[in-house]
């Protein structure tokens, strides 16, 4: 395949210098997401108050796609409402499946660089790991986080 590398600067920069990869002591929600086929393993930590994602972070290990995707996701959702976060997740997951409008793509900002992952089926799980983990956390129980 004689195309340019999928690993563009936005992606590698989020991988090498993730803004949100650190502990978050005052998180009130936390969930581990694992991609057993690759060994990607992250723990997503969110501080959610009054229906807003006040802060968020992640720790763990994995390939560049899993790490950069989680970091870009946190860029997007910190400061947004839980409903917004779920909306963005819906768009992101549809982008990976190739069903997305240009307007929706704009909403994803940098995370839209992962659009081409839809042509790399083996890496889809890496790209969606952070988003799936967030979806699971913000499921029906998000209004009553443990303390």
């Amino acid at each position: 395949m004689a195309h340019n590398t999928f690993y563009n600067e936005i992606l590698t920069d989020h991988n090498l210098h993730p803004a949100h990869k650190h502990d978050l002591p005052d998180a009130n929600m936390e969930l581990e997401g694992v991609n057993p086929s690759c060994g990607d393993d992250i723990i997503l930590k969110l501080k959610v108050e009054d229906g807003t994602v006040v802060d968020g972070a992640f720790v763990g290990d994995g390939c560049a796609i899993s790490q950069a995707s989680a970091d870009m996701m946190l860029d997007l959702i910190i400061g947004r409402s839980v409903d917004d976060a779920k909306h963005l997740s819906d768009i992101f997951l549809r982008m990976i499946k190739g069903h997305i409008t240009d307007e929706e793509k704009e909403e994803l900002e940098e995370a839209s660089v992962l659009e081409d992952i839809s042509h790399m089926p083996a890496r889809v799980k890496c790209a969606v790991l952070g988003w799936h983990t967030m979806d699971e956390m913000l499921g029906e129980d998000y209004e009553k986080p443990a303390d």
Partner: protein
């Protein structure tokens, strides 16, 4: 050198995928090997000229299908130097072969308090069947560990073996480290302790001559697809005496003698273990792969793979950020190189190599306990077949040398 190039071309011409896709450097031969036309033609001929359900039809066509199927068994027997074709059971793959022993032998003969001894470098296929059989019997599963070069010493092995050891299961060549275990010596020690010895030959049978009588192993499992045969055909060799003591693994057609309402008697070996319509075309394909191997000869196959193995070691070692698992001696790798690259996750490495048409494996290689033992989660593996060339190793190394830059590290 000119000779090598001529032979490269001569061999590669016989593998359609390799020949038709010069843009691909296929270096994932430990996962599966590409197929020579000779195998594909033999399978098509079988389906076009001799296809019928073997072993049951009374008409000429079915008898010819049976003959083809049984000829393949004889080719396998000779290839691994078994004493008797009754000792050659066709299965789907090495995994099924090992499960057959796990279910039929281990679950019948293991008792509470017994021990099964395996090594830390086993593929999950030579680990989980024993873990499950041991659990079912209340037996213990024990591991013998290797050193950082992948070497298992006889001292360490003797430390783990006891008078309660009933089964020892060991790979002959590690699918991760490429190291060869001295199966003959370990089988001897196992026998002295009264245990049976199960050899996983998935990575060895395609690359070195294997003689089951010389090694004196009780069981040997391997897959056809890793040696140019089709997917879906594998072999279990077992010593006749043991196979006779074992109950059937799967029940159904072809494996019976008489069936009454409440009881049945079972067919003689090897058909006792081949329930249902067999994969005759697969067996024919494996037989053709063996003929192809015989024609090229292990001397040539091994010379080519040793050459590639040496080049791989030389060129990978020249990259300071690449770290090879296991031995520093290419003779201990059998063309299998598992490595890490500083700062880059194996899946990203494999994806970038893929952008350059270089096909390698990334992950835990179905050997998670070994990965943990080697203090790594996941790695990248390049593995050669005898149709690979030095130029392809060069492509691998050239692409690898760009990985860190592409990932923004340097």
């Amino acid at each position: 050198m000119a000779d090598r190039k001529a032979m490269d071309d001569e061999i590669r011409r016989q593998f359609p995928l390799v020949n038709n896709h010069p843009e691909i450097a296929y270096l994932d031969n430990s996962a599966t090997m590409q197929k020579p036309s000779y195998v594909l033609d033999a399978m098509r001929d079988f389906y076009e000229e001799e296809n019928a359900n073997p072993l049951r039809g009374l008409y000429d066509l079915s008898m010819r299908a049976t003959e083809q199927y049984e000829n393949a068994r004889e080719l396998v027997r000779k290839f691994i130097n078994a004493e008797d074709t009754a000792e050659i059971i066709f299965t789907r793959n090495a995994t099924e072969s090992l499960n057959l022993v796990g279910y039929s032998y281990a679950r019948t003969f293991l008792r509470e308090g017994d021990e099964v001894l395996i090594t830390i470098m086993e593929h999950h296929s030579n680990l989980l069947p024993w873990m499950q059989a041991a659990k079912a019997a209340g037996a213990a599963l024990k591991y013998v560990e290797c050193d950082e070069n992948g070497h298992i010493s006889t001292e360490k092995f003797r430390e783990q073996i006891t008078d309660r050891t009933r089964i020892v299961a060991m790979t002959q060549i590690s699918n991760v480290l490429g190291v060869k275990n001295d199966v003959k010596e370990f089988a001897k020690i196992a026998h002295e302790a009264g245990a049976v010895f199960v050899c996983d030959g998935a990575q060895s049978v395609p690359h070195i001559p294997v003689d089951v009588q010389d090694l004196d192993v009780d069981f040997l499992a391997f897959s056809g697809h890793k040696m140019g045969g089709p997917m879906g055909i594998g072999v279990l060799y077992g010593k006749r005496k043991l196979l006779e003591e074992m109950p059937p693994f799967l029940y159904g057609g072809e494996m019976i003698e008489y069936v009454k309402r409440d009881s049945a008697t079972y067919a003689e070996l090897p058909h006792k273990f081949e329930a249902g319509t067999v994969n005759a075309a697969g067996a024919v394909g494996l037989g053709a792969a063996i003929r192809f191997y015989n024609e090229i000869g292990f001397e040539t196959i091994m010379e080519r793979e040793e050459y590639l193995s040496r080049r791989m070691m030389e060129e990978l070692s020249a990259l300071p950020y690449v770290h090879i698992l296991g031995s520093k001696d290419p003779a201990n790798h059998h063309g299998i190189y598992t490595f890490t690259v500083d700062g880059v996750h194996p899946h990203d490495i494999a994806a970038i190599l893929d952008e350059d048409g270089v096909d390698v494996r990334a992950g835990h290689h179905c050997a998670q306990p070994l990965m943990k033992f080697m203090h790594t989660l996941s790695t990248t593996r390049a593995s050669v077949g005898f149709y690979n060339t030095g130029e392809e190793i060069g492509r691998l190394v050239k692409s690898l040398s760009t990985v860190r830059e592409k990932m923004g590290i340097v």
